[in-house]
C-alpha cells in the first residue's frame, strides 16, 4: 500500500495526458489501483469526519448540561384546583415553558401525579390510562407506568420527565422537572 496515487494506465478518449483532464476523471478513475487508492482516501476522510462529529457532539452535550445548570430553578406554576379534577381524570398544562406539554392525573383521592406528555421514544403525546395504571403511546405501542413514569413496554427506554407537585390551599402547583440524566 503506497501513499502516492498509482500511475494511470488507462488513456482518456481524447488522448490528452492526465494533468489536462477534468477533475472528475481523477475522482472516478477507471484503473483499479487508482480506484482502490481513491476509495481508501474517501474511507479515511469518512472516519476522520465521523469521529470529529462525535467529538463535537460530546462537547455539545457538556455545553447543554452546563447551560441547564446555570439557567436557575424552574418557576412555580398554578396548574389546577384540587376540586376541579375528579379521581381518574387528567388535565393538560404547559410547564415549565409555554410549549412543553405536561399531563396531570388524579390517581386517587389524595394522590396526584404529573409527567411530561412527550413519549421518550419519538415525542408523540402519551395518553393517560388511569384505570389500567399506565400511560399509552399510540404511535409505537409504548407503555409507561402511571405512578413512576418508567417505560414498561414498547420502544421507549427512558422514563417520562416527572413534574414535582405541591398542593397548598386546595390548589396544585408545579414546582420543578425531574429529568432522567442520560
Amino acid at each position: 500500500m503506497s501513499l502516492e496515487p498509482p500511475d494511470l494506465v488507462t488513456v482518456a478518449p481524447d488522448g490528452r495526458p492526465p494533468e489536462e483532464q477534468p477533475r472528475w476523471r481523477q475522482a472516478f478513475p477507471i484503473d483499479e489501483p487508482q480506484d482502490d487508492y481513491r476509495f481508501r482516501r474517501h474511507f479515511a476522510r469518512f472516519l476522520l469526519l465521523t469521529s470529529l462529529a462525535f467529538v463535537v457532539g460530546q462537547a455539545w452535550i457538556v455545553l447543554l448540561s452546563v447551560l441547564s445548570r446555570t439557567r436557575g430553578k424552574p418557576p412555580v406554576q398554578d396548574v389546577a384546583g384540587v376540586a376541579e379534577l375528579p379521581v381518574g381524570r387528567a388535565k393538560l398544562f404547559a410547564y415549565p415553558r409555554p410549549g412543553d406539554a405536561c399531563v396531570l392525573v388524579r390517581v386517587s383521592h389524595e394522590q396526584f401525579v404529573a409527567f411530561g406528555q412527550q413519549c421518550t421514544h419519538l415525542s408523540c403525546p402519551v395518553i393517560p390510562k388511569p384505570a389500567e395504571g399506565k400511560f399509552h403511546c399510540p404511535c409505537h405501542e409504548g407503555v409507561f407506568d402511571l405512578y413512576t413514569g418508567q417505560p414498561l413496554a414498547g420502544p421507549p427506554r427512558r422514563t417520562l420527565p416527572r413534574i414535582t407537585l405541591d398542593i397548598r390551599g386546595g390548589r396544585i402547583y408545579a414546582t420543578g422537572v425531574q429529568q432522567e440524566v442520560l
Partner: protein, 215 residues
C-alpha cells in the same frame, strides 16, 4: 497477480470453424458464474457459415467504463477490463449499448453486467484463457508475439479499430493478412456492405446511415 505482459491474445477470424467449443469452455471458467462471455457472430448467415468469435478487446480507453454512471467497470493494471463490480453495478445497460464490439452481457436477474475478463483467474496465474485453450483451429490464440509470428507467417496482428469517428486501441490483437495495407479495422464497415439477396435500401436504418455518410 497481473497477466504477464508478454502473453497476448490473438484472434484469427478466418480460422474460425464455428464449432462453439469456446462458448462451451467459457461457461466453465470460474469467473463467469456458468455463463458464456464469448459468442460466435455469423458474418452473413444467409450465404455463408463463416463465424467470428467475439471476445472483449480490452480497449486502452474502455468505452464501457467511460459511460458507466455507477463507476463500476474497472481496469486492472495489466490492462484487462473486468466484469462490473457487483456492489456498484446498477444494471443500467449503458455499457452494453456503448461497447463498439458488443461484448458486455447484462444479467438482469443478478443485476450485474458480466463481460469477458480474459479468464482472469487463469491468465493471472500463467494459464491460457478457456476459449484459447480449447479452440481446435486456433482462431483464438493466447501466447507471445514470437510464437504467433512463427505460427502465422502470412499474418500480422493489428490492434487499432475505428468505430465511426472513434479510434480504438486494444490489448487484444486481430490477425490480418500480412500484405493488407490496412492500418486499422473498421468495426462497422460490414454494415455498409450489401448482403446477398437483400438490397441495402431494405434496411431503413442503414439507408439513413448511408445517406449521412455521403457528402
Amino acid at each position: 497477480m497481473p497477466v504477464p505482459e508478454a502473453q497476448e491474445f490473438f484472434i484469427d477470424p478466418a480460422r474460425c470453424i464455428g464449432c462453439n467449443a469456446c462458448v462451451q469452455a467459457c461457461t466453465e471458467c470460474d469467473t463467469h458464474k456458468g455463463y458464456a462471455m464469448i459468442q460466435l457472430d455469423y458474418i452473413d448467415h444467409a450465404s455463408s457459415p463463416q463465424t467470428v468469435p467475439v471476445v472483449c478487446m480490452h480497449c486502452q480507453s474502455p468505452t464501457c467504463a467511460e459511460v458507466c454512471p455507477a463507476d463500476a467497470i474497472k481496469r486492472t493494471s495489466d490492462g484487462v477490463v473486468q466484469t462490473a463490480r457487483k456492489p456498484r453495478c446498477i444494471a443500467c445497460n449503458n455499457c452494453v449499448l456503448a461497447c463498439p464490439f458488443g461484448v458486455p452481457k447484462m444479467h438482469t436477474e443478478m443485476r450485474l453486467m458480466m463481460k469477458c475478463d480474459m479468464c482472469y483467474d487463469r491468465t493471472s496465474v500463467g494459464k491460457k484463457p478457456m476459449c484459447a485453450s480449447v479452440c481446435p483451429s486456433q482462431a483464438l490464440y493466447f501466447g507471445t508475439r514470437t510464437e504467433i509470428e512463427k505460427l502465422r507467417p502470412n499474418s500480422r496482428p493489428i490492434n487499432t479499430f475505428s468505430f465511426g469517428a472513434q479510434m480504438i486501441t486494444t490489448k487484444v490483437n486481430m490477425l490480418v493478412p500480412k500484405q493488407a495495407a490496412a492500418t486499422h479495422l473498421d468495426v462497422i464497415a460490414a454494415l455498409h456492405e450489401s448482403t446477398i439477396g437483400n438490397s441495402i435500401e431494405d434496411d431503413l436504418l442503414l439507408a439513413g446511415m448511408e445517406a449521412t455518410h455521403e457528402p
